[in-house]
């Protein structure tokens, strides 16, 4: 449906740097996060977790805890055996999904595995009670803590019901990779590891569960990114009709993918609330969060790249070892398949073969974390392309520019069968090169090297697949829904099935709606995160919020405007087709009369002068189902200097040129890039969970697991190109993960470049000063 309105420039919100609608409650401390919810008679749950990575549970004695004043109930795995398993949405034919109970029954598979739940009158008593529970464990030898060793024949089987530790395998190939390698002038190989990361939103997970016995209604407040999907899964786990379940995502303090999951504690809290008929609160502590909230990454990649001597890339071989952990979580096996899909990066080669092996270990589950599969893929391809440039004696900028598809080649069919929607990769990269002053830098670097300084520049030209996504490509639907309801007063409610948790969709969707309806943003309320208020939805993850959810809003708005024009036409006594709508006013060349948006809104409810057979109210619900993903891209550049004596890395400059399609709010896009870069800098320089060979986590608090602080971050010089996405009418692609995907390889490539005079060809992340110093020592001695 074509809109006939043209928006007056002065009133156009889309494209403006507009401060957020969400912020007043957040800056005054009046927002309600899950731990802020208080209910009369509320009880507190705490979870006892396994101290062993692998053990049989011989017996559990809860008597001591039960005797403590204030303790209301204690639940073991046997007590909650009627609750359905923690779900895994993977569906590949080879996939093994071990039965994943919400509390361990006879065996624990990783340190932190939930074993017993205690419910008490307050959180202090609950914590005390945990110490009174006696679990008699029979710890198993040969903890499987190394995914590579897990594949060895004599490795203990994490799940004894299977004959090895393979959780699944996945293979994809294209072109003629053997020919490509046989005919190549040069082949380079690398082993690239992406260690496990703790997602670490500043708000940990938390659940409040409340049961209305009379109505048989269970309300779950959870710090989640996917309230609607959670409702469906909880309905299955608790055997309730969805209609009796209401899931509310209150204010959510960050997720980064870690809350796009269905967690044992959610069903547990719901089950206990039903049993005890009292509200239950469970709030995760930080140690639990780092210990068990599915770690991101956990990749070990062996990659080979073939090229002609002019730098034309011709083929790639990849083997990914994905550390699954002791159990699958919701999307665990799916995430590394995204790495396979994105392995070509932005390059045109067509021949590849990829083997992915998921491996069970006695470690915490892995699952999605910001970027989810794409940062790993980008890291691999951007690292090995640099390695190839080095091998060929070619400039790393030149090899990239040589292998990009041109702007006239879109849609571009990649080696792995994706259809990149639109882009001008060279343009973004050239802007970044120009801005950093690449040629001047090379001269400076020459000078610096003569003085023994270790100065480097690192590029990452990334592409990403986002705006998840077409339903056939997702386990639970890739559509999104929106309802736009115009109230009698002319105020508008926009209900979205996305569940933003910091992204600012209340603002972006208000911008879209205000422009469509010609009313101030303040007249619009965006409602999300409540399954009783928004009937349908998928959620916010995979940089889909605006491209999919925003488009659904846009479609519903168009339908509302269409209806409103009909009503306005009737009120002005002209045909709807002759009605124009601009700046909130309906007019027509056929009459002098005008009616305002508010007039129409009121009339739609009073129904005194509507066209025949019109239903009252002014509202529309629309769904958007994308035909393809969207593919943002960009170029990030890090200029670094390594302190030869200490191994410390200093980021001298950081540039980001990103293209996320059309931009609704540049201020917020900048924010997403900045935050994304921080989550690439973390793993590049400092982050990574560390396990010992017994599967014990060695850095499980914020006192030893470092997430970047203000002084760790460089100033990010940010620019954009804007290539509209052809796949949705807003032209938006997505930006939530771009910074994380684009930054890490730039840092690593920069440091390798800095160290290259010493003969360094690769360095593992995190590039801690110790690691850098070790390399310098090795190279200086050899």
């Amino acid at each position: 449906m074509a809109t006939t309105t043209t928006k007056p420039q002065a009133k156009t919100y889309v494209g403006q740097r507009i401060r957020r609608q969400e912020d007043p409650r957040l800056i005054t401390g009046t927002a309600t996060y899950v731990d802020d919810i208080q209910r009369p008679g509320m009880l507190y749950a705490a979870v006892l977790r396994s101290p062993y990575a692998a053990a049989n549970i011989k017996s559990i004695s809860t008597a001591g805890a039960m005797e403590m004043p204030g303790v209301k109930a204690v639940y073991t795995g046997k007590d909650v055996s009627s609750v359905g398993p923690v779900p895994c949405a993977g569906s590949m034919p080879t996939l093994r999904v071990p039965h994943h109970t919400i509390l361990a029954t006879d065996r624990v598979y990783y340190v932190g595995h939930p074993v017993v739940a205690v419910v008490a009158s307050d959180r202090y008593v609950a914590q005390d009670a945990l110490e009174s529970i006696e679990v008699d464990y029979d710890p198993l030898d040969d903890v499987v803590a190394d995914p590579e060793k897990a594949l060895e024949k004599d490795s203990r089987k994490v799940h004894p019901e299977y004959d090895d530790n393979v959780a699944f395998t996945f293979h994809l190939d294209g072109g003629d990779v053997e020919k490509a390698f046989a005919e190549a002038d040069t082949v380079v190989k690398l082993r690239v590891a992406a260690p496990r990361l703790a997602p670490s939103p500043i708000e940990t997970r938390g659940v409040v569960a409340e049961y209305d016995e009379g109505a048989k209604e269970l309300t779950i407040y959870s710090s989640t990114q996917i309230p609607h999907l959670l409702r469906t899964q909880l309905a299955l786990q608790l055997n309730l009709p969805e209609h009796h379940l209401r899931v509310i995502a209150p204010e959510v303090g960050g997720g980064f993918g870690s809350k796009c999951n269905v967690w044992a504690e959610e069903a547990l809290a719901g089950y206990i609330a039903i049993q005890l008929k009292q509200p239950i609160k469970w709030i995760e502590n930080r140690r639990e969060s780092i210990l068990v909230v599915a770690h991101g990454r956990g990749h070990l990649d062996d990659v080979e790249l073939a090229a002609k001597k002019d730098g034309t890339l011709t083929g790639l071989k990849l083997r990914i070892l994905q550390d699954i952990g002791g159990h699958h979580q919701l999307l665990t096996p799916i995430i590394p398949t995204l790495s396979v899909l994105m392995l070509p990066g932005l390059y045109k080669f067509k021949s590849f073969t990829a083997d992915l092996i998921g491996v069970f270990t006695n470690l915490a589950p892995t699952d999605l974390y910001r970027g989810a599969g794409r940062p790993e893929a980008t890291y691999v391809i951007e690292r090995i392309v640099d390695r190839m440039a080095d091998e060929l004696g070619m400039d790393p900028a030149e090899i990239r520019l040589k292998n990009f598809p041109g702007p006239d080649e879109f849609p571009f069919e990649t080696a792995t069968g994706l259809s990149y929607d639109s882009g001008d990769y060279a343009k973004a990269f050239n802007i970044a090169l120009e801005k950093v002053g690449y040629q001047d830098f090379l001269k400076k670097q020459q000078e610096a090297r003569k003085q023994g300084r270790l100065l480097g520049i690192g590029f990452c030209t990334y592409g990403e697949l986002c705006a998840f996504g077409p339903s056939p490509a997702l386990p639970a639907g890739g559509w999104e829904s929106a309802t736009v309801t115009v109230e009698a007063t002319g105020k508008v409610a926009v209900m979205t099935g996305t569940s933003p948790h910091g992204q600012g969709a209340e603002t972006t969707f208000s911008q879209i709606a205000a422009d469509a309806l010609g009313i101030p943003m303040d007249d619009i309320v965006v409602v999300h995160g409540d399954t009783a208020k928004v009937q349908h939805g998928i959620g916010t993850f995979g940089s889909r919020n605006t491209a999919i959810g925003g488009t659904a809003v846009h479609l519903a708005l168009q339908e509302v405007v269409g209806k409103a024009k009909t009503y306005a036409g009737h009120m002005m006594e002209v045909d709807a087709a002759d009605v124009a709508f601009e700046g909130g006013v309906f007019s027509s060349a056929k009459t002098d009369k005008t009616v305002s948006f508010q007039d129409v809104a009121l009339e739609a409810h009073l129904c005194k002068n509507l066209p025949p057979d019109t239903e009252p109210g002014l509202s529309a619900t629309r769904f958007f189902e994308p035909a393809n993903f969207a593919f943002p891209f960009g170029a990030h550049i890090a200029v670094v200097e390594v302190d030869r004596e200490t191994g410390e890395i200093q980021i001298l400059r950081y540039l980001a040129v990103d293209d996320c399609g059309k931009v609704i709010n540049p201020l917020m896009v900048d924010g997403q890039i900045h935050g994304g870069v921080a989550q690439g800098l973390g793993p590049a320089l400092m982050e990574g969970v560390i396990y010992d060979e017994d599967g014990q986590l060695l850095n499980g608090t914020f006192m030893d697991y470092p997430i970047p602080k203000a002084q760790h971050m460089p100033w990010i010089e940010s620019e954009r190109t804007e290539t509209p996405a052809p796949g949705n009418p807003l032209g938006v692609k997505g930006v939530g993960e771009a910074g994380t995907i684009g930054s890490l390889p730039a840092f690593v490539n920069g440091v390798v470049d800095a160290l290259s005079p010493l003969g360094v060809q690769h360095i593992d992340i995190p590039m801690t000063p110790q690691k850098v110093w070790n390399l310098i020592q090795e190279r200086s001695q050899s």
């Binding site: 007043p24 802020d36 500043i202 204010e251 960050g254 900048d670 914020f702 971050m713």
Partner: protein, 158 residues
């Protein structure tokens, strides 16, 4: 064991009988219902629980409520006066210095401390002063901008 304490919070005196082990953050959040102060890491690193005690910022997860007996405490709820946002709040809002908002109340308390100690901080000084406040969302750049804007606004008002 219980101990009776008297604490003035945002100008209002409260008397409560508390367990000595009760953390100040739980006292504020659960006894007084002032839930704007958040709990992030529980190990005195992230600063989400930052409040001012006797005019100096502290991490309220690493202070016992009994230690605040007889003292003056200011929380995020006491920052805006008479419905008017404080320049630091305005700065964060205008410069998009927050995303999920969970670290923001603590961040605001720390920025207030910074500007009280150093009304015209450089970018480097701002970053240094915020080392006790973790933000996982913003990458801090917009927070730095917000502090600069707030410093200007406060300075302009004098």
């Amino acid at each position: 064991m219980q101990k009776t304490i008297r604490v003035t919070v945002n100008g209002q005196e409260h008397e409560r009988s508390v367990e000595p082990r009760l953390l100040l953050v739980h006292f504020l959040r659960e006894e007084l219902g002032l839930t704007g102060t958040h709990i992030g890491c529980e190990s005195s690193v992230c600063g989400a629980c930052t409040v001012a005690v006797e005019g100096r910022t502290v991490k309220s997860c690493t202070m016992l409520a009994v230690q605040a007996d007889g003292k003056d405490v200011r929380t995020i709820e006491g920052v805006a006066q008479n419905g008017n946002l404080h320049p630091v709040q305005e700065g964060l809002w205008n410069e998009h210095g927050l995303q999920c908002g969970f670290c923001t109340p603590g961040m605001i308390m720390s920025v207030n401390q910074l500007l009280a100690d150093n009304p015209d901080p450089s970018k480097k000084e701002i970053r240094h002063a915020l080392e006790g406040n973790l933000c996982r969302c913003t990458g801090y750049q917009h927070i730095v901008n917000a502090v600069e804007a707030a410093a200007k606004a406060v300075g302009g008002g004098q």
